[in-house]
Amino acid sequence: MNADPPPHVAVSGLTVTGNDGTPIVADLSFAIARGEVLALIGESGSGKTTAALALMGYARPGCRIASGGVRVGETEMLGLGRRALAEFRGQRVSYVAQSAAAAFNPAQRILAQVIEPALVHGTMTRRAAEEKARGLFRVLALPDPEGIGDRFPHQVSGGQLQRLMAAMALINGPALVILDEPSTALDVTTQIEVLRAFKHAVREQGTTALYVSHDLPVVAQLADRVVVLRGGRMQEEAGIARLLAAPEHPYTRSLLAAAAPAPQSPPAVAADAPPLLQVTDLTAGYGGVTAAGVPRVPVLHDLSFAIAKGSALGVIGESGCGKSTLALVVAGLLPLARGEIRLDGALLPARVQDRTPAQLRAVQIVFQMADVALNPASSVAASLSRPLRFYHDLRGAAARRRVAELLDMVRLSPGLAARFPDELSGGQKQRVNLARALAAEPALLLCDEVTSALDTVVGAAVLDLLAELRRELGIAIMFISHDLSTVRAICEQVMILYAGRRVELGGRAALRRRPMHPYTDLLLSSVPELRPGWLEGISFTHLAEAAGGLMPADAQLPCPFFRRCAVHIPGTCDVLLPPHRVLGKGSEILCQRTEAELLDMQQTASAPA
């Protein structure tokens, strides 16, 4: 046993505390072998980022590394002085942050920034560094590896920027790369290329990496081993296959369960229930309306859909497809340019100012970022009392009673009423947010990515809550998300948006069956699955489609998906508006291809590349 070589990276008894001595990371020990990818997973607040930063010998303001050891290669990081550490960082240990957009200097060309670590540490000449950078661009599958470095950060897509940041981290051939949630902020279709590029680069360069994430399916694609953190303590350490197949720790099991939410049984909605919300040929956008009645910057094009009383409609699409705009239009915050919205059969005025109190009360919106959706200067009670007074003229003791009821409804303790938003956790904030909308006693709840900013476990609990509320109160929901699995879990109807167009609308069961719109097909196949090897199994067709990204110019084409679509018909799709087709499985799509053609092509295309 003694013959084993010492591990490449060894962390032993690492403890990081806050200034008041509370441990953030407690007695953490693990090792990473050379060329291995170790994943550090846990919810927010589990100390995973703190632990990862400690591997660079860094503690954020307000924290300090209390004890323990971090050895990278031959060097004990924690004993190093300021200068030695600076020498070490960016050269031997490098870091890829969650938001590449925030990590790049917008005023400098990309190449100059990518090679900066090499120049700062004097590891190679400018020429050699530039050559190496271009090589890395190729390895990371970036388009135009020769020229992309001359662009500015705003001229490349988010997924490309994330890969360019990886190139920056790899330029010095570091002994350890720390990747901190590098794909969390990306769309699923973009995530695929980033993950594949990372995996390829790590394998090719023989890089040792620490991958910090809360996302188990993503981790399953990249990591060799996983360390599960909770409250700064290690819960479980195992090889990825073992962890997924036979998780030992109950916490790991709950993480696994939350990663694949089970479909909620919908409350009984009468099949012939009259539509609560009926949207017809809705066109909306920004920048005012032209003489022709079209917005200068159109975002939504001719959308039609209905939501029955007490039912849930999921709206899915990648960022920029207009799904949040749709919520704003229905809420009356952004007036529509054309089309109409009917609520309970009555025409709903476009502008919130023109709506009657009853109409205002009936439609409530719940925003994505719980942090900014609550007034930081108002206590929970004050935030909830406002709509109570506004809509129901409740005040004094009656309002206080109702606040307690509302908190109970969203499963929060009434004691929280006196707290302020910064004294609540993310999940609690989102529940208060929900309670504020419920205070109006609405008929329709517009939920805009309400779980996206939350951890999977917390998010799953919020989804359960939504389902319960529907059963108890009979509220209809428009659930906007980029996450297919959550939408499938709570919505009976699903609408898929691409560049502001409704490319497919159908029941949740229909969404799993072929044929489907080519974009639906891509979206479905882009959601990481909880098994190693999924990333390698993606078909070549889907990879090509995923690489396209949402380009604004495409919105002008009759079919905006034309350029990315693997089954497009040149001369038809880019000239003629795609027809509405009703498929046998019960959904409606917007595509030139017939049902038989799509079925045929999607069966052959699913063969792995």
Binding site: S44, Q364, F367, P376, S378, D422
Partner: protein, 283 residues
């Protein structure tokens, strides 16, 4: 998970010194009392030459010495308090009130409202303040009300710009959108959603405006546009006794100290007002 979540409260937990707040509060209160009772407390008639020595050192009869004409400095300071506090305080309050109200209105309404108010403010701010005052005083004559009004109008645009800028930032937040979606009126959005979140800049800005106005009023007095001799506010006292600086006369130093004490304690007081959260909890 996200950096924003984890970096939270450090910045907000400011060093709070209730003692300092209390002390500055007492000082501000003292200045207000002096303004009220000054003429009663003054041992000598403030406008009368009572000593043959100019710039006399403090003595039994003249506890703070005499000024450049041999008038009692203590009496002049006590009476001067009335003019300094009596012009600067209402003028600063007025400037702050108008600037904050219009700033929030422009931020919440946006569009044409914002454009009209902002351009009007730009026009106001482009007048040199002294020339502006000169025109007003020439047209309306010099009285306390005119002085207060002029100072308020001159310092309102600065307050407006700052408040509009911070309010525009708050206005983009989702909780304001939520209030709009609820159908709240502009005035309610301003009062419930915006104002509680900009209390700190409003109050800090008020302290600044107050100091500027004290200086402006003394400048005006110097030019003969403000208070007419023998009346003099603290700024005017500094000006008229400037020649005593070479002999280190208390007559020039004391009013300057008085201005400093007043402005610093106003600033300290507004900085140390009981936290807005505590105030809201009590409600």
């Amino acid at each position: 998970m996200s950096a924003a979540l984890e970096l939270q409260p450090i910045a907000r937990r400011r060093l709070s010194l209730p003692l300092l707040g209390l002390l500055s509060g007492i000082l501000v209160l003292a200045c207000l009392l002096l303004a009220l009772l000054g003429p009663v407390l003054a041992p000598h008639p403030p406008g009368q030459i009572v000593s043959p020595t100019v710039f006399a050192a403090p003595s039994r009869v003249f506890p703070l010495g005499t000024d450049y004409l041999g008038r009692d400095m203590l009496s002049r300071l006590l009476v001067g308090a009335r003019y300094t506090v009596g012009t600067a305080l209402p003028a600063a309050l007025l400037a702050s009130l108008l600037g904050t109200g219009l700033g929030m209105l422009a931020a919440v309404r946006g569009g044409l409202t914002d454009a009209v108010i902002s351009r009007a403010m730009d026009t106001l701010i482009s007048f040199p303040s002294l020339i502006f005052s000169l025109v007003i005083v020439a047209a309306l004559g010099s009285s306390l009300a005119v002085l207060v009004g002029t100072a308020a109008v001159i310092y309102m645009p600065g307050c407006y710009r700052i408040i509009r800028a911070v309010a525009v930032d708050i206005e983009t937040k989702d909780f304001v959108r939520a209030a709009r979606a609820r159908g709240e009126r502009t005035s309610d959005i301003m009062r419930h959603e915006i104002l509680p979140n900009i209390v700190t800049p409003v109050v800090t800005d008020f302290g600044l405006r107050f100091m500027f106005i004290v200086l402006l009023v003394s400048n005006l007095s110097f030019l003969g546009l403000g208070l007419q001799p023998p009346l003099s506010d603290w700024g005017g006292l500094v000006r008229e006794n400037l020649s005593g600086l070479s002999v280190g006369a208390p007559a020039v130093i004391l009013p300057a100290v008085a201005i400093a004490v007043l402005t610093v304690s106003v600033t300290l007081l507004v900085d140390n007002l009981p936290g807005r959260k505590a105030a809201m909890r009590e409600r």
